[in-house]
């Protein structure tokens, strides 16, 4: 069966020449519980990848190719999601302004997109398929303690 089209396929094709694998090699459809940092209330913007967020949180004004700009950041557990956020906030004291201060939980299905292999901290990126609307699959669990 042909793989469904990615939601941001055109944007990815724009910057990623054939030799750069995007989504990264090893990204697969997965049925998995996922946890994402969001603002409350959630909106469709809560699930935009960084390449689509306005204003874009980028520092490279020359626009370096970066596959990660079209993946949506997730963790594999609530604890890891909260732990990472707390550590992030030690360096970026206004982090809540840009990525929200709540954790939302959702059940990803194999029809939602391609998930990268989670790293040792339980973090992975989801590259959504076209027509997927993640807000329907996620609910806000709690505010991340300050």
């Amino acid at each position: 069966m042909p793989q469904p089209k990615l939601k941001y396929e055109a944007e990815i094709a724009d910057f990623a020449p054939g030799c750069i694998s995007c989504p990264p090699a090893g990204a697969l459809p997965m049925a998995i519980k996922a946890f994402r940092w969001v603002a409350k209330p959630m909106t469709t913007d809560s699930f935009l990848p960084p390449g689509k967020i306005k204003p874009a949180r980028v520092n490279n004004t020359k626009g370096a190719a970066n596959c990660g700009l079209f993946g949506v950041s997730m963790h594999t557990s609530r604890e890891r999601s909260i732990d990472a956020f707390k550590k992030l906030e030690k360096t970026f004291v206004y982090a809540r302004k840009t990525i929200g201060g709540f954790v939302a939980e959702g059940d990803l299905t194999e029809q939602d997109g391609l998930c990268t292999t989670s790293n040792s901290a339980g973090h992975f990126d989801l590259y959504e398929y076209e027509k997927v609307n993640l807000i329907d699959s996620f609910v806000v669990l709690c505010e991340i303690p300050k």
Partner: protein, 350 residues
């Protein structure tokens, strides 16, 4: 989103803001939070750290740091707060639509933006690339010098040639780093305005962070003397292997191949392609492409650099790009090897 506070500081014209080359994102969640850059003039490492945002723009800070501080930060031994507090100056700028505005130079970061005392680069938030940067460590290595016929310009040329070869091998060996891969693609494959071997070597150099750079640690010329360096031992090993490939008649084989290669280009009326020329592979005949492919294979085989061929293939660099890169590399290698042949320089095997 609430407004960002006004920052007191010296206004900097965009043209006066130094040029920095992106090296790696160290913290990245839905976009970069902290990125490692290198200043083009002078080569200092710099950290670009996210500070704040409103509905129209994001605010970033920039701080330059010493090699030892970068290493300690990547190892989780010092905090970003201590790096910022030790810095002589901090830049702040806003980014709206891909453009830096309101650039300011400050002597110190306002307290309300200062990271906390325990603002370390925790493994839970660092990128895989940040972790990889610290996995490789430099060690000491000596280029041995001897003979009475060594001049000041030789002492300038030898490290420069060595550094160019080092940069090349670093690039080939670090294609997993996005900055390296992007730079190689743009200088060897998607170049505009003609290929430039200087751009190739300088481009590679620009994406090597200080902790991986070959750095002269001491210099002793007393016949015998040495140029002491701190560098990645794997790169030094690769260079010494290639130098060894020129021993025992290897250099004669390479010179013969080099000359016949240029004779072929003259005969085929495709000479002059290696510097500044914009010739594309689709202007060559299939026989010419096949011949160039064989030339590249022969050169790479003789230089015992199979990893270079793998890198070319991985980057989808066409035969003309491969040939340009390998000839540019060989010209520098040959120049360095003349010092080895004269007995002035010895490049020890690791």
């Amino acid at each position: 989103m609430s407004r960002m506070p006004f920052i007191q500081g010296k206004d900097i014209d965009g043209r006066a803001f130094p040029d920095y080359t992106w090296n790696a994102d160290l913290i990245f969640f839905d976009g970069p939070f902290l990125s490692l850059y290198r200043r083009d003039a002078g080569g200092q490492d710099a950290l670009f750290f996210w500070l704040d945002a409103d509905n129209k723009k994001n605010r970033w800070g920039v701080v330059e740091l010493a090699r030892s501080s970068l290493r300690d930060y990547l190892r989780g031994q010092i905090s970003l707060r201590s790096i910022i507090r030790q810095a002589d100056f901090v830049y702040i700028f806003n980014v709206g639509v891909r453009r830096r505005t309101s650039i300011k130079l400050l002597s110190e970061l306002p307290d309300f933006y200062l990271p906390k005392a325990d603002s370390f680069l925790y493994p839970e938030i660092s990128t895989d690339e940040a972790k990889a940067l610290i996995e490789e460590d430099v060690s000491t290595y000596k280029l041995l010098l001897s003979g009475d016929d060594l001049y000041v310009d030789d002492l300038a040329i030898i490290p420069k040639l060595y550094q160019q070869l080092y940069s090349f091998h670093y690039g080939v060996g670090h294609l997993d780093r996005a900055a390296v891969r992007d730079r190689l693609v743009s200088t060897v494959r998607d170049w505009k305005g003609g290929f430039s071997s200087v751009h190739l070597f300088n481009g590679m150099k620009a994406v090597i962070p200080s902790i991986h750079r070959a750095r002269v640690s001491n210099l002793q010329y007393a016949s015998p003397g040495h140029i002491g360096m701190e560098l990645l031992p794997d790169m030094a090993r690769k260079i010494s292997e290639v130098i060894s490939s020129l021993d025992d008649g290897g250099v004669d084989r390479m010179e013969k191949a080099y000359s016949s290669c240029y004779r072929y280009f003259r005969d085929e009326k495709i000479s002059g392609f290696e510097e500044g020329d914009e010739r594309r592979v689709d202007t060559l005949t299939s026989i010419q492409i096949e011949t160039i492919k064989n030339i590249v294979n022969y050169l790479v085989e003789n230089l015992r650099m199979p990893s270079v061929m793998q890198a070319f293939e991985e980057m989808e660099i066409d035969v003309l790009g491969q040939l340009r890169a390998i000839l540019a590399y060989y010209r520098r290698l040959r120049q360095l090897y003349t010092y080895v042949q004269s007995g002035t320089l010895k490049i020890p095997v690791i």
